[in-house]
């Protein structure tokens, strides 16, 4: 087969194609976004869901129907999908389902650096982790095989360096899984307490079997070294470790959960010093020590940020002297021609208290505007803004505004809007939806509000203003903030002065996406008229 230079994300997409995946679904999020885009470009059936919970549920339904499924999201997306995830572990799947969790140690483009290895243990799901693109391909294939064999969703944990790093990949022969078909299994899939209890036991039995298989499987790789130092490690950190300590013996875990603890115990006995080297939380070190295996591990300061070859050298030497600061370049900023400038300018002039959200517009927090007072999670601007309105003295409550992007509003902002209608603050509230017609931050992906699919074809369109009006918001304004900034300022001031509920949709395409959006619209219009004439 061909050798190709691929990113980890592209390698997973190639694996999905070769594994015969019937459906890919997810929500865009750095560094996971390119997986579904590439799968679609390769001819796979891929679609964006409004959020990760819906993506997983669609994937689960497809897998109940016997399909092979790929579900992708960034690490924080798994929080959104966690509710179905934990119970999907009980129900299992009929086809096969692989959930990619793309973690972001070092916060290249995220609001936290949570370590999603915790989820595998908490939910009781197998988890694999690759160290480069070839392993991303191989382990993705292995993950579907595991999922199909044991009828259990499998998590593939990746990190930014593996997702976005490129290395050489050789693909294997494709397979053709069974076609989807419905087989009724009421006790297995309807999680009322009477059925969920036995399902929990069944899950634990599956994990015991997978552990027994995993201990002897090729998902644990041992490299013999001098025997003086042994390193137990996983993921891209294994590559750093091999470079930092070329003479060390190495036990590389590609199966993180269930943890092949007996292999680790046996390995530890073969070396004088055994060291656990891992990025993020001390999950592996804690588990190994809990099993009574004496190991050394990193000092607490190495919990933060990414590991590198240099940091692994320091870890192994227990060197905790201050580290050199990484180069500080120019931070990203709102594009000069970003349509949100007049919005931030107005918020500053009116001295607003701003509950913000996740997206490009979060960059409004930087000078010159310093225009956000909070940014926590996708969709949180609504709830946080309402909470502030509820408790602040009236003169301050009236200054509170929630701002959210179009894609983020569709993701989880809609729930906050329902809360706004149901529990309106005495002073009313103002929500600004920054509608630039794309999911800009992650690289201009489509979403339900654009009316185009992942592949940019025309489809049903979720109307932001239609939803706000139907929900019962009194004032719904749709304006172009760039066309007339003073009018935008006046409108915002007027709405803030009244104890009413307002949604202002500030609509103007992202300048980076505008040309592409026009092209998609023209192409879809041409297709539509061709269909009419045909």
């Amino acid at each position: 087969m061909d050798r190709k230079l691929l990113s980890g994300d592209e390698a997973v997409a190639a694996a999905a194609q070769d594994a015969g995946v019937h459906l890919g679904t997810g929500y865009p999020g750095t560094p996971s976004t390119e997986i579904l885009e590439t799968f679609s470009a390769l001819g796979g059936r891929a679609q964006w869901a409004p959020n990760e919970k819906v993506a997983l549920e669609v994937g689960l339904g497809a897998a109940y129907g016997g399909a092979r499924v790929l579900v992708t999201m960034k690490h924080v997306g798994v929080n959104v999908a966690a509710d179905p995830l934990f119970t999907a572990a009980y129900t299992g799947v009929t086809g096969a389902l692989v959930l990619v969790s793309a973690d972001d140690p070092g916060l290249a483009s995220s609001q936290n650096e949570q370590d999603n290895r915790h989820y595998a243990k908490a939910a009781g799901l197998p988890m694999l982790e690759p160290s480069d693109s070839q392993e991303a391909y191989d382990l993705a294939r292995a993950a579907w095989e595991l999922s199909a064999r044991w009828g259990i969703p499998v998590m593939l944990r990746m990190t930014t360096r593996v997702c976005h790093g490129k290395s050489i990949v050789v693909r294997r022969a494709p397979e053709a899984p069974k076609a989807p078909a419905f087989v009724r299994d009421i006790q297995g899939r309807v999680m009322i307490p009477a059925y969920a209890g036995p399902a929990h036991r069944k899950l634990r039995r599956k994990l015991d079997e997978i552990l027994a298989w995993g201990e002897a499987s090729p998902l644990v790789v041992e490299r013999k070294g001098s025997g003086k130092l042994g390193i137990v490690t996983a993921g891209v950190t294994a590559r750093h470790a091999r470079e930092a300590a070329p003479d060390a013996s190495l036990l590389e875990l590609k199966l993180l959960h269930p943890l092949p603890i007996e292999r680790i115990r046996a390995f530890a006995k073969t070396v004088e010093r055994c060291f656990v080297v891992e990025e993020g939380d001390p999950i592996l070190a804690d588990a190994v020590r809990a099993a009574g295996i004496p190991v050394e591990s990193k000092a607490p300061e190495f919990r933060f940020g990414e590991l590198t070859v240099g940091r692994v050298r320091r870890i192994l030497a227990h060197d905790t002297t201050p580290e050199a600061a990484p180069p500080r370049g120019k931070p990203p900023q709102l594009c000069d021609a970003c349509p949100y400038h007049p919005v931030y300018s107005a918020l500053k002039k009116l001295d607003c208290i701003v509950a913000g959200d996740i997206g490009c517009y979060t960059l409004g927090v930087l000078p010159p505007y310093q225009g956000l007072d909070a940014c926590v999670a996708m969709g949180a601007s609504l709830g946080v803004g309402l909470g502030l309105r509820h408790v602040l003295p009236e003169q301050d409550a009236k200054r509170v505004v929630s701002i959210i992007g179009d894609s983020t509003f569709v993701h989880t902002g809609v729930n906050g809007l329902i809360e706004m209608i149901y529990n309106p603050p005495k002073t009313g509230h103002v929500l600004i939806i920054l509608d630039n017609g794309t999911t800009a931050m992650t690289g201009q992906q489509e979403h339900p509000g654009t009316g185009r699919t992942l592949a940019h074809d025309a489809t049903g369109k979720f109307s932001l203003e239609g939803f706000a009006r139907a929900a019962g918001v009194k004032n719904v304004d749709v304006v172009d903030p760039v066309k007339d900034p003073p009018a935008f300022l006046a409108l915002l001031g007027e709405r803030l002065s009244k104890p009413e509920l307002t949604v202002i949709i500030a609509r103007r395409p992202c300048i980076l996406a505008a040309a592409d959006i026009r092209q998609y619209e023209q192409a879809n219009a041409a297709k539509c008229s061709a269909a009419v004439e045909g």
Binding site: A108, D132, T308, P331
Partner: protein
């Protein structure tokens, strides 16, 4: 175990084609039969912030990231980034700054990234044909000529200075 790995950092600002240039370098080395790894952080890169990418190639590349102070070459597309990334260079390493090529001689200023790759190519033992293939694979046909001449400008400037 001393395997020789060549370490090249490309740096600049979002929109300058830093990632494109690193793709071309990685692909040229790949086409020449080397083991290659490339690491970058994108996501925020379109918003005008600093962008750096690490390209490593040789017999066997382990970590995708170049250890601090071990870069053999650093190619910088933006003057403001030169001093930011200089500490990453190894002792005796070479930094190719954006003013290495005369921008006035570029048919299109947006091809500075490829011109600087041309300068880099003078120092690397990758045949010119592999570079040409990589450039043509990475860019649409209408940009081939302008980038081929930019590449040549950088390569010849480097050859003349030696």
């Amino acid at each position: 175990m001393a395997r020789k790995v060549m370490n090249v950092i490309l740096a600049g600002l979002g929109g300058q084609g830093v990632i494109k240039a690193s793709d071309i370098l990685a692909d040229a080395a790949f086409r020449d039969g080397r083991d290659v790894k490339k690491a970058e952080v994108h996501g925020m890169s379109q918003r005008g912030g600093s962008v750096t990418t690490d390209v490593r190639f040789g017999d066997e590349v382990l970590s995708p990231m170049i250890p601090r102070g071990e870069a053999d070459f650093i190619v910088v597309c933006a003057p403001s980034e030169v001093e930011v990334v200089r500490p990453l260079l190894k002792a005796g390493g070479t930094l190719i700054a954006p003013d290495f090529v005369d921008e006035a001689k570029l048919a299109n200023r947006r091809s500075l990234n490829v011109a600087l790759l041309g300068a880099l190519s003078h120092h690397l033992d990758i045949p010119e044909a592999r570079w040409t293939e990589a450039i043509e694979a990475a860019l649409p046909a209408r940009l081939h000529d302008v980038n081929a001449s930019a590449f040549r400008l950088g390569r010849e400037t480097a050859a003349a200075r030696k």
